[in-house]
Subunit: 224 residues, 8 copies
């Protein structure tokens, strides 16, 4: 058929294939979601439309649908299995959907996410107020649009890896996220790596992987 | 000949034509410098080579040649004539030539410049240490390469206009200053305007013009 | 909640946080507008939809809604508090929305704005007719799309700072305002700095800040 | 051999093949120049190095070598054969090599060129001083770097076709002539067409062709 | 009001101001069209919507509305006043709207246009069939999208100026006309100059100007 | 009329002109399809809308309309006439429309296509499972979006020419297919050439041409 | 060590690993060349400096060094083993190095190459003179810089696959070969696929592969 | 002076300020290196010239200078202090300098680096041979130029975080590393984040930070 599922992915990479809703029909998403939920103990879908959300919920009422994040998550065992937490820091209100996509992905991977909103660099004190919550995370995801300066400021204040997510928030010479992307790639601070524009999922995945590495002895029954 | 000097410029715009050294021969620069020094009481040349610097100095020993800034400045009356000062803040050591070009231009226009170096956002405390010197300036020029985040952070802390100068310092996805330029144009902070990449002169000029506006009653004999 | 308002911003930067309507729901804008109008004596919102305009007007009838500018402005004390005026010069009819955004912002900051329309460089005499009104301003905002040549011509005729605003007006190799942006950044005239494409707000803010600097002794009761 | 000369070009297009020096060896240029001078009554080479200039001069002393323009021109009958003249207007001193390439090409095609230098838009009066010389030309070539605004201003003042040549003069966000090129393509004035960055030859050729069209009855013996 | 008409334009440049419909309301276009038709003997509007077309036709039934070209043209004296003709050659069927905009503009300027369609370089014989009609024109406008190769081929076969118009026809790496634009600017053939992407108006205007130059003695009563 | 059909194309290039639906009206497509079906024994239309599909089917019920591929194909003799087959390999489900356009084109040209779906490089074993089917093809078309890495991996494993088709599938720094296009052009593997973004037709055509070359002796009666 | 040779490549892909000289030291190239010449019966190196050429020749005098092509080729059995030939057509003299790289690669792969020079589209008759030589080839490589129009014209005249190679020849808006690359990717003619800018090797390889496919029964002793 | 060292950085971020050699004089680098070696127990300099290397070695003979990596490293306690290792995988020989910069940085941060060279995707078996060494690492750095496909392939085979480093290796449409950068940002595999083009240091730093997180109980005396 149209899809050739990568069923051994969980074995190889530690996490099963994730459904990317963009460009799929509602029927395709529903069908793949159901089929994966039979094979794996965690199923995550991103970039889903409201229609997809409601159709999946109708069939699988235990699925968690997050409208802002545009995600669908189903976990046999919904509890976090890794200690420590991942901070998801977001510069402005409009960056929220991308930040929430990161949060859901972190949870899908068995870690706890702390969301810290609207702490852009134009009002540093808002960031300073939250700095301890940020510093004590195991990994820090920083989501920002426009000039994308927040990861540089944060990475200069902490000793943890920062995963930077540029967003397409802005206009004009922002060129749909290019300004934030270039800003993050050229950061003068150390300890930053970058994912694609608006790719909250990718950042959540990388952060979840790192936090898992720090939790080597998860008990068998809790596994993803 | 090759040049058609704009001799009424000082009358129209308040400052005489400035010599742009790039793409001119040493002979042309020397000749134009001498000829302008007969007509005006201030002569400024930017982007001059060392050779140009020494040849002009040989003929006009009172000229001030700044090797880092690549500028030549001659003023009949070298004293500043405007009160208050302009802060020239620079993110890294490599941004210094551009910052010094701004400093010389500010001085050429009769204002005092305070240079504050190496206070990039990756070490915020260095900036905080100097924040009062910055806040008390009439205008703030911020020179930064790489991600160009410094103007955003500063503009969020002050109530003065910030003139941002992106530099070509960096490599790779910096694309010769594009990342800093886009970062500055898309700043989430208010009160920032931007000049061309590496254009310390343009920033110094704009800042000098603003500071002059705040000093309406310069005495006739002190005029530029 | 979704927003972490920067309530000390007025103290730090001289002007309270401005609401950016793009990407917010009508409900969010109404709520933030009302809440800010309790804390500050001036509230400005930009990039608001007609729906936002009418909903805010219904609740706060004294607010000034400008449909062309897409702005909402409420001022306890609507009188200008700074002397002198800011010229907002605009090249073509289609640049008007951006120019009006600049005008509203200038007014929000307590200055007077003079709008001068449709004086593009293809008909120089139209500009010459208005040149005195432009020359006598304290700051000049120049709004232009297409090749963005107007700031160069004006800056060569005046001794005041020019804030240039490229617009996305044009087509083809205009690349949504890139041609005007690059033109303005590379101007051969002195005394120009540039803000983002279509950023009338940013230009108005910077100009308002500069004019305020020239008016040091505003009486306490008139303050923003 | 390495070259397959287009010997019927003069018949088809009214002008013989022109030698483009870039990327050729001195030997190749000398050889092609000599061989073309036997077949045609006009030979033009552009983008020649000094070495090429001297080697061709040694063999063919009647050739005219222009070091600034980097051109070599030999004409059996050096007199202009078309009435009227072509104005070659140039914004700054650094645009001169491109302007001179246009001048030589115009002459090669049998027309008279009037060169008008250093009349950039930042000092409009310099342009106004020359406006009659410009207006009375049959065709106007305008050479400008940086923001490339000069063609817009001129085209608004004349009723003749303007051929605009962007140059790579400038730095930073000039991106090697891109800013001038985009500016000229997006001009708000009418009657402008554009050639490649630094392509003085192309502009001279197009202008020469147009002026020839206006001179239909050149006597046989004067022909190119 | 919103528009500051350039009423002396016809005197300065030989043709009155043209109405650019894009970004104007139907009301504005109708109003300006009527007002210009009282002052000038030719009125041209481009980029008009169907709505604009019908509204203007209702009020001024003698106006010629061309739906494909998106133009409105009214001429007191509709006859061509210049001898010779301008060939408008177009590579593919989808380039037709741009080609027709050029045709209307040529007619507005008093010249005759010959439209030659669908002669793209992939089927050279179609071009060869029409080559005499093309060669005998006074000026040749070539409209092409995709790789924009047609002007190079034509300019190599004729001794008349070619005005090349890149169109946005194509997809993928066409980047909305960039491929055709760059192709035309870099042509290896001589005698080509280029206007903006999709700018049929600009090409028609330049061609009309050139043809007018070749017709110096138009009788007074026939003038535009 | 609007179209100047290239009726000798089949003779010159071995395949008749193909109808490109984009930017044509349904009426035009129906009319051209009918008219070509009278002259040629194969008619192919690409980029057709559903409306076009149904209108052509109504008139010519033997036509094959492929909704995913957006193609219409009519062949007098529907059997493949060339031996061997062309593999059409596609990285993800969303690349399917482009892959199917290639399949239809291959069939139109008389060859057999084998479609192999969803074998992206993130799950190599899926590719390995199909490697023999791929290796035994005469030509391999590889369709991929995002980073476009699949052609590199395949070309390193086979001794057949690979035609790579970048797709616009992806978001953010994908820039509408640019990332896949650049990836394919810069492949470190040998034996790859590339067509335009989303140009399944172009790849199918090139592959069909190559396979035909390998089948020199098609019997007269089977010819396209 | 520094290199991990892919010794099974000849078995997998039909041709052994090729040495890419760029960024390697002369010592590395000499060493790898010698070592490969012991394992394989054909060794090809591209992008070699003159120094590399002479050092390899000193040790292995039977190697063929092509200075223009910057290639080194050694074949145990230097005779072509495939019937038919590959046409390598090149637009201008400056495209020759890239064309010669293609020629050497074709020869390395056991096919005959026919080089056809300086037949750019500005003088079509030069192309027409050679059209039969081009038409009778099995595969056609077309090398062109500037606007890259030659492949479109040729593909419209032949029924063989065209491999297009854009070159970096040109200046200004050529952007180092981008104009030719985009032109070729957007060709309106069918049967063209494209390789990287200046990648004569890639085109020669692809063409060699196709010609080999048409020669299925090469005798064992002649194999590469 | 010219530098304002960030002396508390080690306390804040766990690693002292690193010296970036580019754009500094040899004197400046020597001076800063000596001064930092008095304050910290690890000093790292990157992008150093040979001259800088020798001058620092002369004064501080225990420093380790790596000519390929262009790094200088001095560690009081040269032993690794973290368990596990970081794989540095590199696609081609020319990517080595960037890979070695990553290796040195990993070592500076107290971790062990395993370098795996020349395993590009065009010869998959070379990668498969090393897959266990790669899989067992704690973090994987993947360095690749050209199309940058290697991180996608590796990330699909492992359950560890992959830090991807695009290099500027390649030519033409590689645009100095842009193709590899975009490829990596758009990877279809999960668990990848990206640093700037040629930024081996940034990748090494991020990987070192992650490995340190997994080694929480380093004994006091071993600390950096
Ligand atoms: N038109 C505008 N263009 C750019 N920035 C704006 C504009 N209007 C408001 N802003 C900025 O946006 C900030 C609010 O962003 P947010 O937190 O997303 O509501 C304000 O503090 C302003 O600095
Ligand atoms: N400066 C120039 N810029 C662009 N094209 C030129 C220039 N000079 C000569 N040419 C063109 O280059 C062609 C010669 O190219 P080639 O065959 O490489 O020598 C001439 O026929 C002219 O059309
Ligand atoms: N299709 C067109 N493309 C580019 N410019 C045009 C076009 N039609 C009219 N114009 C120009 O637009 C000007 C009017 O602009 P505006 O003042 O905004 O109405 C006219 O004077 C023409 O120079
Ligand atoms: N999907 C496609 N992508 C690119 N070119 C196509 C496609 N389908 C058809 N064509 C080409 O478009 C030409 C017809 O263009 P037109 O004359 O505008 O109808 C055909 O001869 C084909 O070469
Ligand atoms: Mg906010
Ligand atoms: Mg520093
Ligand atoms: Mg107007
Ligand atoms: Mg000058
Ligand atoms: Mg057609
Ligand atoms: Mg899949
Ligand atoms: Mg030639
Ligand atoms: Mg290798």
């Amino acid at each position: 058929g149209f899809a050739n599922l990568d069923i051994h992915r969980a074995k190889r990479t530690g996490f099963p294939e994730v459904i990317y809703g963009e460009g799929k029909t509602t029927e395709q998403v529903v069908k793949i979601f159901e089929s994966l939920s039979k094979k794996n103990s965690t199923v995550l879908a991103t970039r889903v439309t409201e229609e997809m959300g409601y159709q999946v919920l109708k069939r699988l009422p235990k699925v968690h649908y997050n409208k802002t994040a545009r995600t669908l998550l189903w976990k046999k065992n919904p509890e976090p299995i890794h200690t420590g937490y991942i901070a998801v820091v977001c510069a402005g209100t409009s960056d929220l959907p991308v930040a929430e996509e990161a949060v859901t992905t972190v949870q899908a991977m068995g870690s706890i996410a702390e969301l810290i909103c609207d702490v852009g660099v134009a009002g540093l004190h808002r960031l300073i107020d939250k700095i301890n919550l940020i510093k004590n995370a195991n990994v820090i995801i920083v989501v920002a649009g426009m000039e994308g300066a927040l990861p540089s400021v944060i990475a200069g204040l902490v000793d943890k890896p920062v995963i930077a997510v540029p967003t397409s928030v802005g206009y004009g010479a922002n060129f749909k996220g290019l300004s934030a992307l270039l800003g993050m790639l050229n950061s003068c601070a150390n300890g930053i790596s970058v994912v694609n524009i608006d790719n909250g999922f990718g950042a959540g995945y990388q952060a979840g992987l790192i936090n898992k590495l720090m939790n080597p002895t998860v008990k068998e029954k809790n596994k993803l």
